[in-house]
Symmetry: C2
Subunit: 167 residues, 2 copies
C-alpha cells in the first residue's frame, strides 16, 4: 500500500458518485417539471453556497489537494458550469486529471511539507499526511455531502448508497 | 508516517468539531427559545435521520472502523442520548476509545482484510486501506457533514471552519 492508494482513489470514488447524484437530480427536474436552474441554485440556507458551487468546490479540493501532495503546479479551473451536463463534465475532467497521477509521484508525500492557502490572507504548512487528513479530506467530503443533503432536502430520491457509489 | 496516522487522527478531529457544533446548537436553542428536542429531532427531509442519529452514526463509524482495522472486538453502543450534553458525552467517549488505540495495532492493517456488514444481509471484505477509503471515511464524513448542514439549515450560526475544527 502506498500514499497514492490512501489519497487518489478516495477522491475518485466520490467524484464518480457525485456524477450519479447529478444525473438523478436532472431526472428529478424533468419528472417534476422543475427548472434545472432552480435546483442548481438551491441552498440549504440563504448564506450557504448553491448546489453548483458545492460540486465545483468538491472538484477543486480533489484536484488541488492531489497537485499539492505531488508537488506539481496547482490547477486553476474557472467556475463556468451552468447545467447538470456541464457539472458532470467538470467532475469527469477532474477525475481524468486525478487519474493522470502515478504512485511514484506520491512516494514520500506523506512526510513532505505542503503549504496551502487557508483563507484569503494566510497560508498553513503541514506534512502531507496531516494535510490530507486535516484539510483535504474534510473539505472534500464536506462539499460532497452538503451537495447530497441539499438534493435530499429538495426531494431527489437518493440515498447514502448513491453517495458511497455502491451499486 | 504510519497507517495509524492515516486513520485515527482524522476521526478524532471531526469528533471534536462535532462537539463544538452541538454546543453552538444548544446555545442557539437557548437564545432563540427553541426546545432542544426540536433541533435534536430535526431532519433535512422527512425520511432522513434526525440530528441525534447523525451524531450517533458518526460516532459508530469512527469507533467501529478503528476496531475493525485493529482487529479487536467491535464495540456496540446503545443509542440512548436524548440531550445535547449526552451527545457531547457520546462524542467524548468515542474520542477516548479512539485514543486508546496505539500505532502498533495498526501496523500492516492497510493490507489486512476487513470483513464488515454492508446492509442487513450481506458482508463485504476489503483490504484495510480500501475499507478506510471506500467505506469508513465516506460514511463517517457523510453523517458529520449532514449534521452540519442540518444545523445550518436550521439557522445555527456555524461555518465550515467549525466543521474542520479550525480556530
Amino acid at each position: 500500500m502506498t500514499f497514492y492508494d490512501a489519497s487518489v482513489p478516495a477522491f475518485l470514488q466520490i467524484l464518480g458518485s457525485l456524477s450519479g447524484l447529478l444525473s438523478k437530480a436532472e431526472a428529478h427536474c424533468a419528472a417534476k417539471n422543475i427548472q434545472p436552474d432552480v435546483l442548481l441554485g438551491a441552498r440549504l440556507y440563504p448564506d450557504m453556497l448553491p448546489l453548483s458551487r458545492q460540486i465545483q468546490l468538491a472538484c477543486d479540493f480533489a484536484a488541488k489537494s492531489c497537485a499539492r501532495l505531488a508537488h506539481v503546479n496547482v490547477p486553476s479551473t474557472p467556475d463556468t458550469e451552468k447545467t447538470f451536463a456541464e457539472l458532470r463534465q467538470r467532475l469527469a475532467k477532474t477525475g481524468d486529471y486525478l487519474k493522470s497521477f502515478t504512485a511514484p509521484q506520491f512516494e514520500g508525500a506523506e512526510g513532505r511539507e505542503v503549504t496551502f492557502p487557508a483563507g484569503p490572507d494566510r497560508t498553513v504548512t503541514l506534512k502531507g499526511q496531516q494535510f490530507l487528513n486535516n484539510f483535504a479530506f474534510p473539505n472534500f467530503y464536506f462539499h460532497a455531502a452538503i451537495a447530497h443533503g441539499l438534493l435530499r432536502h429538495n426531494g431527489v430520491e437518493i440515498g447514502k448508497r448513491d453517495f458511497l457509489g455502491v451499486k
